[in-house]
């Protein structure tokens, strides 16, 4: 009964090949030709090297790079479009979110200094993090070599002696991470946030919770605190002390203590980099929050800063934020 043998096995093999052609290889041939979306660019050689560091060290097992068309994914950006993946080979879509989606991390955490500190020790910026440290991507040296900059790791997390310097691999990796920005697609809504995980404020917070009229306005301290923890403390720390040379302290910060809130509101709305603050310059970059936080949120955060850690300054109203927002960048 040789015939039966070939009928069963040949049939099962053939049927399978047909199915595979129809549902995998065929679609793949077609999909591989998807043209890049508007503004989607190939990686530079340095960024591509960084993507290899990313894959080698398995970052993808904890982080996805795909935004689904679901409300809960709005915090990570607009839904991913087919054109976004034209240059993404190997694909890095991932399958698990032990950590947040990174599709837009170049927008959410635009500061290379933040990225370096976080990679060196995630607990230095996010105490509850369970991400492994990647200290092996850094060197500790006694003297900073010319052309290099030391990473301003907070003292509690820094090595006892010496300076922390990123290796070439770390530089490439951070170049890759900062390249992760969704290109806007006209007509595709940004869905109110390009932020990373930390910008995921509760939806209730987006609705005007407290009376927003200038006169009887009382700020919501609990909400201000939770919004600050969610959006700002990664850089400025929960203590408001910041990280020396990277992120300025908000304790006694002139912009926070001033009666005129313009500078504070402007910074929160549009971000900042390279200013001299109380005589010092900071290497980090402040995120722009205009697209993710509404006027009430920003007023709550600003007032939380104005009344915490020993700060005592005049309160801000949502109307003032709205006025500042109307001025544009």
């Amino acid at each position: 009964m040789k015939k039966a043998m070939w009928a069963i096995f040949g049939g099962a093999l053939l049927l399978y090949v047909v199915i595979v052609m129809a549902i995998a290889v065929g679609p793949a041939i077609d999909l591989a030709q998807t043209p890049p979306g508007p503004g989607v660019k190939p990686l530079t050689p340095l960024q591509a090297e960084g993507r290899q560091v990313f894959a080698s060290n398995g970052c993808d097992y904890c982080h996805t790079e795909q935004v689904r068309p679901l409300p809960e994914d709005k915090v990570f950006g607009r839904p991913s479009a087919p054109g976004d993946f034209a240059y993404v080979t190997p694909e890095m879509l991932g399958s698990e979110r032990t950590g947040p989606d990174l599709t837009n991390v170049g927008n959410a955490k635009p500061s290379d200094v933040w990225q370096y500190i976080h990679l060196y020790d995630p607990r230095a910026v996010e105490p509850a993090s369970i991400m492994p440290n990647f200290k092996f991507l850094f060197r500790v040296v006694d003297k900073v070599p010319a052309g290099d900059t030391a990473v301003p790791v907070p003292p509690a997390f820094a090595p006892k002696h010496g300076y922390v310097i990123p290796t070439q691999k770390a530089k490439a990796l951070v170049a890759y991470l900062l390249s992760l920005k969704q290109a806007p697609i006209p007509g595709y809504r940004m869905n109110g946030g390009m932020g990373g995980p930390t910008s995921a404020a509760a939806p209730a917070a987006s609705a005007p919770a407290t009376s927003a009229s200038a006169g009887g306005y009382v700020f919501d301290a609990a909400k201000g605190k939770s919004l600050f923890e969610a959006n700002c403390s990664a850089c400025h720390q929960s203590t408001g002390e910041g990280i020396p040379t990277a992120f300025p302290p908000l304790v006694g910060n002139p912009a926070v203590e001033a009666d005129d809130p313009t500078l504070q509101i402007e910074t929160i709305l549009h971000g900042a980099h390279g200013k001299v603050i109380s005589g010092k310059r900071y290497s980090g970059t402040m995120t722009a929050f205009a697209s993710q936080l509404n006027d009430t949120d920003i007023a709550n955060i600003a007032n939380y800063e104005r009344s915490s850690w020993g700060n005592h300054a005049k309160h801000v109203t949502p109307a003032e934020v709205a006025a500042e927002r109307a001025k544009g960048n």
Partner: protein, 475 residues
């Protein structure tokens, strides 16, 4: 099909009949089991370390021990080292015995074992050195290493086909359909996963979705089911309940399973029709799953008390139950509304262990405990088997329940737009429980090592024969 279920009456290839003594086959079965056991212990030691790292992320965070390098080592070694080699060892025994003949070539089978091991060793080293091109799940090994694995498949299926061709009986026992089918399909899977031309951008996403699910569904599943069709009747000393149902399950599995890979990428930018086909086929899978499951359970009908007396049967029973419920869980997970909560969460990891551990790993253990003593003439101790069984079962239950609850909490945190870090904090106790389950599972594997030792090189233990008395005799 030319072959009707009728023509395949259970009599000709009744697995309950015993063949003669076959030393060469026994030593082959031993070698495969010992290799597989090594990979089980190694792979799950790594798994346990990973579980520990969720509570202590700075522990052993050096380059070669970083989470992201060890994780694919865990998954690939338990897949291709443990589960594959264990099931292939059983497959040799099942095919040779159900064909009532001798193996076509012992040499080819030994070469196959070397190739499987070389692939797993080289793969482990490559991943640890960071040769992971793209974190593409379950195909992380560099492609030349995957070619070695493919070569192992080819020599094995050649050997099995040549053995089946020289069978005594007219018909081919159902187990061999599943086993040979599994090999042939998996060769196709490996080739499709290696060829680069269509694997660009979104094209590669389609292949990843296909690969992830076909590797489990068209490889481990048919091998384990083929083993069930032989080992369950063998242990119970009675024929399978319905041969026809087995044939139906075979063909429906073949049609539905390959198409459901897209469910790993629901809501992704893959074409909507591909995702919808995947969902429909995930529902269609209920036919082979319930058909197959009912068949096994009906074969066991009336002998349920036997599960307590016979540990091989107990392992096989857990395997069947986890096959049925794990697959049904997969169907529910594939629905879009459920995916919205569970996708990307630790619920999925719970599902992976429910199926790959509860189903495939228990099936392999059941097969080894049922068949290896028949091959070698040596038995494990009953205490050893019972300790293994209860530790493994309790451990995996804790593991799966913890991550199913935790994954739901995590998913709901996201749905409720909590700050991301909240989901990390909320998972902490569940990660801890996963570790507790993991410790029990790992301890059970050490006991398994001891049992394997007694079934191969050591002194035979006191367990009764894996073959239960037939009802007539018992009555």
């Amino acid at each position: 099909m030319a072959v009707t279920a009728q023509a395949l009456g259970a009599s000709a290839m009744d697995p309950t009949r015993t063949g003669g003594d076959d030393r060469a086959l026994a030593s082959l079965f031993k070698a495969y089991t010992v290799s597989a056991t090594f990979w089980l212990v190694f792979g799950t030691a790594v798994g346990l370390l990973l579980a520990f790292k969720f509570g202590a992320p700075d522990f052993w965070a050096e380059k070669y021990l970083t989470f992201g390098r060890l994780r694919p080592i865990h998954t690939n070694d338990v897949f291709y080292g443990w589960a594959s080699i264990a099931l292939v060892g059983c497959a040799y025994y099942v095919t040779v015995r159900s064909c009532g003949t001798q193996l076509y070539s012992i040499l080819l089978a030994r070469i196959g074992l070397w190739l499987f091991n070389i692939a797993a060793i080289a793969g482990t080293i490559a991943l640890d050195l960071g040769y992971n091109w793209g974190d593409l799940e379950y195909r992380e090994w560099p492609w030349p290493i995957r070619l070695v694995f493919l070569a192992a498949l080819v020599v094995t299926v050649w050997n099995l086909l040549a053995t089946i061709a020289r069978r005594e009986s007219k018909d081919i026992y159902l187990s061999n359909w599943y086993i040979v089918g599994g090999f042939l399909w998996t060769c196709v899977i490996c080739v499709v996963a290696i060829l680069p031309w269509y694997q660009k951008g979104l094209g590669q996403v389609a292949i990843s979705g296909y690969f992830m699910h076909n590797a489990v569904g068209m490889w481990f599943t048919p091998l384990a089911l083929g083993l069930f069709y032989y080992a369950i009747p063998k242990v119970l000393n009675r024929p399978i309940y319905s041969y026809a149902l087995g044939v139906l399950a075979f063909w429906t599995n073949l049609v539905f399973y390959p198409m459901l890979g897209g469910h790993h990428f629901l809501f992704s930018p893959l074409p909507w029709w591909l995702q919808t086909t995947a969902i429909i086929c995930s529902v269609g899978m209920l036919v082979p799953v319930l058909g197959g499951g009912a068949n096994y359970l009906l074969t066991m009908r009336g002998r349920y008390h036997g599960r307590i007396e016979s540990y091989p049967l107990a392992f096989l029973f857990v395997g069947v139950i986890c096959y049925v419920f794990g697959s049904m869980q997969g169907t529910v997970e594939a629905l879009r509304s459920m995916q919205a909560i569970w996708h990307f969460s630790d619920f999925t990891v719970g599902h992976s262990h429910f199926t790959m551990y509860g189903f495939v790993t228990f099936a392999a253990w059941g097969g080894i405990y049922a068949l290896l003593p028949l091959a070698t003439g040596k038995r494990p101790g009953s205490l050893g088997m019972s300790v293994h069984f209860w530790l493994a079962l309790t451990g995996v239950a804790i593991y799966v329940i913890a991550l199913s609850i935790g994954g739901t909490v995590q998913g709901l945190d996201w749905v409720h737009d909590k700050p991301f870090i909240q989901s990390v904090i909320d998972m902490k106790p569940y990660y801890l429980w996963r570790g507790v389950g993991g410790i029990l599972m790992f301890l059970s594997h050490l006991v398994f090592v001891w049992n394997v030792w007694r079934m191969t090189a050591g002194k035979s233990g006191d367990a009764p024969s894996p073959i239960m008395e037939s009802e007539e005799a018992a009555a």
